[in-house]
Amino acid sequence: MKKRLMRHLVRLYPKHWRERYEAEFLLMLDNLTPRWWDVIDTFWAMLDAHLNVERHREARKMLKQGLRWLVTAMIALATLAGVGLLALSFLIVPPPTPDNITEISGTLAAIEPTCCADESTDMGIRLAESDRYFYINRAGLDAEMVRQDFPLGETVTLTVFETYLSGGRALLTESVPTVGITSETSSYRPTWFAGTPFTDHRVNGYSVALVILGVAAGLIILRVSILGEPRKRKLATA
């Protein structure tokens, strides 16, 4: 399996490399008991062989220098975007303060249904005097969901459903007051943030930021391992 994989990888080497080394490489492979690391090593060396063509050395140097700049710029951009988005997720969509958490806990307790405590049920909240409706995943009952535009002190209708996947049959409908919602909700988020993927779930902002930072890390590895400049050893005297 590993040998077969390595044989396939050898076919991906540049033509000039294969003309010169393929036969002896495959012969050496016959004698070798390869490890998985050898497969990775062959893959990495194959990429390197494409980037390090000795002939056309000047052109290669220029190409490599250009690639270095490009990858460095991409690293800088990705890092900036990732850190910026992470900061945005922290600052623009701030976590509730401890006071708010207390308030919201009280609120959620106030609208806790009288039946069906099973976490597999979902909840929906409908405002009594309007048709606005908020769906709440019971398992992920989140203070932020309840914060959306609830007029303070209004009576809402709470409906408990079976889980969405099982058809969403209503199990219970009851009217409960929004007792305990005392915090201002309108200033919680700037309006321009509405409509972005991060409106409802802060974690989305984190996830995207982490993916971008992951890309930056990958580019750094590429930059250092394949596009790195050769180091000159300089010895200090004692």
Binding site: L27, L32, D41, T42, A49, P230, R231, K232, L235
Partner: protein, 104 residues
């Protein structure tokens, strides 16, 4: 003059190959075994041939005619010179480190 420092990440594998070939002509698999025996590290096949390619292009090693489908390599005069320079440099580094440790 070109040195092994120009080899980037292939610098150490190239030095090990030159040390191996300094002990006599060898083909690829024999180099892997010899290097494992003398340095306790097993070069991956991709790394080995990446380093061999660079050494050959710089004229530090030379491919010999095939023997039983295998192609042995030998170290050249400029390869010996580059290896000597590299080992001298390492000796100075080692000496410096030992002096700082108060062991010399």
């Amino acid at each position: 003059m070109s040195t092994l420092d120009d080899f980037g990440r292939f610098s150490n594998p190239a030095m090990l190959i030159l040390i191996s070939l300094a002990g006599g002509e060898k083909h690829g698999y024999a180099m892997i075994e010899d290097i494992e025996a003398i340095a306790g590290t097993r070069l991956g096949p991709g790394t080995l041939y990446g380093a061999i390619q660079r050494l050959e292009e710089r004229g530090f090693i030379q491919a010999l005619p095939q023997e039983a489908r295998r192609r042995p390599y030998k170290i050249t005069a400029s390869g010996i010179e580059a290896l000597r320079e590299q080992l001298d440099s390492l000796r100075q580094l080692s000496q410096l480190g030992l002096e700082r440790l108060g062991e010399s």
